[in-house]
């Protein structure tokens, strides 16, 4: 009979104890895997939400009313421009993850409303702008067919107001210039819903604004300190920095707080598992004191006893860990619903991400805990003196 079979048989002899031990380890493992999955999922979901916010920083010419609403209130006046040559400098900064150039133009339409009105156009680069607005989805159509196409993409409300569909003509206010509607965006709930987008180059050519930009949208790499980077941008003459730093920093601090709490709870779960295993196996050794003595008197060496007890511990931990991983996988959606119910702010998307790497890590962590946790009981068992052990039964 080899050591593994003997260990199995020993565990099988005390079914209830073995079952409770495995359940204890499984619960600890379940908590550990779920918390690690939550830590990863929450962080990723928040990062996705940060990215979904679009630009973190908008660089505009000093004094420029970069928001469409402000621009309309000012009757389409007051737009200022910065040289397009500034763009590569910003684009190539090491802190920057993505950039997109934009040019805004407001045109007075004498026939819009009874007394005329202002229509705001945004010239964008279809190659870089969509990545900055990942929440943009097309209701119909798509982006422009070419960088200088005479096409427009309309926000949902702009299309609703103008009753435009893809393929319809659109008359540029105050002129005879016709454009074609290339796409209509779904609602976003932002000012983009009322916007009419043109290719950057087309807008620059149409409104004689070659070589200038109104804004540069910037998204930073995740580990970059926004405030420090803003400081660098302020060194550029005649620009202003519009930042989402406060919102971003709030989210980042939320992630950090959540990480600390989650890792603390995970560490406690881990410790519970270690001491649970240690206690159970030690109890088992004490219970089998006389039995171990007999084994030794029959010729079993200390190393055999050590290996037997150690193998039992590792088996308990490995099976408990596997059961815990299975629980966490099966009940991930229930756990997520519970977490969402209790969290004051939960980002969109999966809150618990159980990746293969995480599962392998958890299995190895719990099993290694068993390997180390089983050392003390195994050494104690190996040191048992046979005669003393056999006598102890009689006393």
């Amino acid at each position: 009979m080899n050591l593994l079979t003997l260990a199995f048989k020993n565990l099988e002899r005390r079914k209830l104890r073995t079952a409770f031990t495995i359940v204890g380890i499984a619960l600890s493992s379940w908590v550990l895997v779920t918390l690690l999955g939550f830590n990863q999922g929450y962080k990723n979901a928040l990062n996705r939400d940060i990215e979904g916010m679009g630009f973190q920083i908008v660089l505009t010419a000093k004094g420029c009313p970069y928001e469409a609403a402000t621009l309309m209130l000012k009757g389409g006046t007051g737009l200022r421009y910065m040289p397009e040559s500034l763009y590569p400098e910003i684009q190539n900064a090491p802190e920057v993850a993505q950039t997109t150039p934009m040019i805004m133009h407001a045109e007075f339409d004498p026939y819009k409303g009874e007394n005329g009105g202002t229509t705001v156009f945004l010239g964008i680069d279809a190659a870089t702008y969509p990545a900055m607005k990942p929440y943009f989805k097309f209701l119909s159509g798509g982006w422009f067919s070419a960088p200088n196409a005479r096409e427009i993409v309309m926000g949902y409300e702009a299309a609703e107001l103008e009753q435009r569909e893809v393929g319809d003509a659109y008359l540029l206010p105050g002129s005879e210039q016709e454009f074609t509607v290339a796409g209509i965006l779904q609602r976003t709930g932002t000012q983009d819903d009322g916007m009419i987008f043109l290719p950057l180059q087309t807008l620059q050519e149409t409104f004689n604004k070659k070589g200038v930009l109104t804004m540069i949208g910037i998204r930073l790499k995740n580990d970059v300190n926004t405030a420090d980077f803003e400081g660098q941008l302020y060194k550029i003459p005649d620009v202003q920095v519009v930042s989402m730093a406060q919102v971003r920093n709030t989210i980042v601090s939320l992630v950090t707080s959540a990480k600390i709490i989650v890792m603390s709870v995970a560490a406690i779960a881990f410790l519970i598992a270690v001491f649970g295993v240690l206690n159970t196996v030690l109890m088992s050794v004490f219970e089998r004191y006389q039995e171990i003595g007999i084994l030794k008197s029959m010729g079993a060496l200390p190393k055999h006893i050590f290996m037997l007890i150690w193998t039992e511990t590792v088996l308990l931990c490995a099976s408990g860990s596997l059961a815990g991983i299975a629980f966490s996988y099966l009940f991930a959606s229930v756990s997520e619903r519970l977490i969402r119910a209790f969290l004051p702010f939960a980002p969109h998307g999966n809150l618990i991400e159980l990746t293969p790497n995480l599962l392998i890590f958890s299995f190895l962590a719990i099993t290694l805990t068993g390997i180390f946790g089983g050392l003390l009981p195994a050494i104690k068992a190996a040191k048992i003196r046979p005669l003393e052990a056999i006598r102890s039964e009689n006393t």
């Binding site: 939400d49 979904g52 916010m53 339409d109 004498p110 026939y111 819009k112 409303g113 009874e114 609703e160 107001l161 103008e162 009753q163 435009r164 569909e165 003509a169 659109y170 008359l171 206010p173 005879e176 016709e178 609602r187 709930g189 406060q246 919102v247 709030t250 989210i251 939320l254 004051p344 702010f345 980002p347 969109h348």
Partner: protein, 204 residues
């Protein structure tokens, strides 16, 4: 907490309404269209609320054309302004959205209590012919007409029966798309008002 609320506001859910056609400045517009008025009341109606799918189909048949686009859906909220003088109704104002060649147009009608057009104007219009179509000469051609004159207008073929008074409406431009759109918008407006107001009053 304020930061958290800001984040929630930024990332939270949003509510939306269907496209309607309100007067830009009701107080000013009502007084301009009905100088004798002393007040008005506003009612928000939709085909869905008034008669549901059967009415929607009936109105489509009466128009002689399919309703299309998000501005002609069954749940579109229409704003009916009942104009009052010393508490008694003296007329109605109602606008509809209509698709033009280059953009949306809003065709607003001021009607008397019998449904006769007192005033016609475009609250919004995007067209190369905007100046001509907005001119008082064009709008005045609609004065005195009612649904009776527009009921037989063939929207698909842009044709009035010769005996119809509305057949005399002249297109001020050579371009026809926006002119036809204006006629369709007017007919749709009159059909809606007939079902929202005049038929409902007849039933009472």
């Amino acid at each position: 907490m304020i930061k958290l609320l800001f984040v929630l506001m930024l990332l939270g859910g949003r509510a939306f309404a269907a496209v309607g056609c309100d007067l830009n400045d009701p107080d000013r517009d009502v007084k301009r269209l009905f100088p004798d008025s002393t007040g008005y009341k506003t009612e928000y109606l939709s085909v869905e609320k008034v008669g549901g799918e059967p009415l929607y189909q009936k109105m489509e048949a009466a128009l002689g054309d399919k309703f299309s686009g998000i501005y002609e859906k069954i749940d579109v909220p229409y704003t009916v302004y009942t104009v009052l003088k010393d508490g008694a109704p003296i007329g109605f104002i109602h606008g509809v959205n209509q698709k033009g060649k280059y953009g949306g147009m809003q065709v607003v009608l001021a009607l008397d209590t019998k449904g006769v057009i007192q005033s016609f104007y475009f609250q919004k219009l995007t067209s190369k012919q905007a100046a001509a179509l907005r001119s008082p000469d064009f709008g005045n051609q609609f004065k005195g007409l009612s649904l009776t004159d527009f009921a037989a207008y063939d929207v698909a073929n842009h044709a009035f029966p010769p005996e119809s008074k509305a057949a005399k409406i002249q297109n001020p431009t050579e371009e026809t798309d926006d002119f036809y759109a204006a006629l369709r918008g007017t007919k749709k407006n009159l059909i809606l008002m007939d079902n929202f107001v005049f038929k409902a009053e007849g039933k009472q």
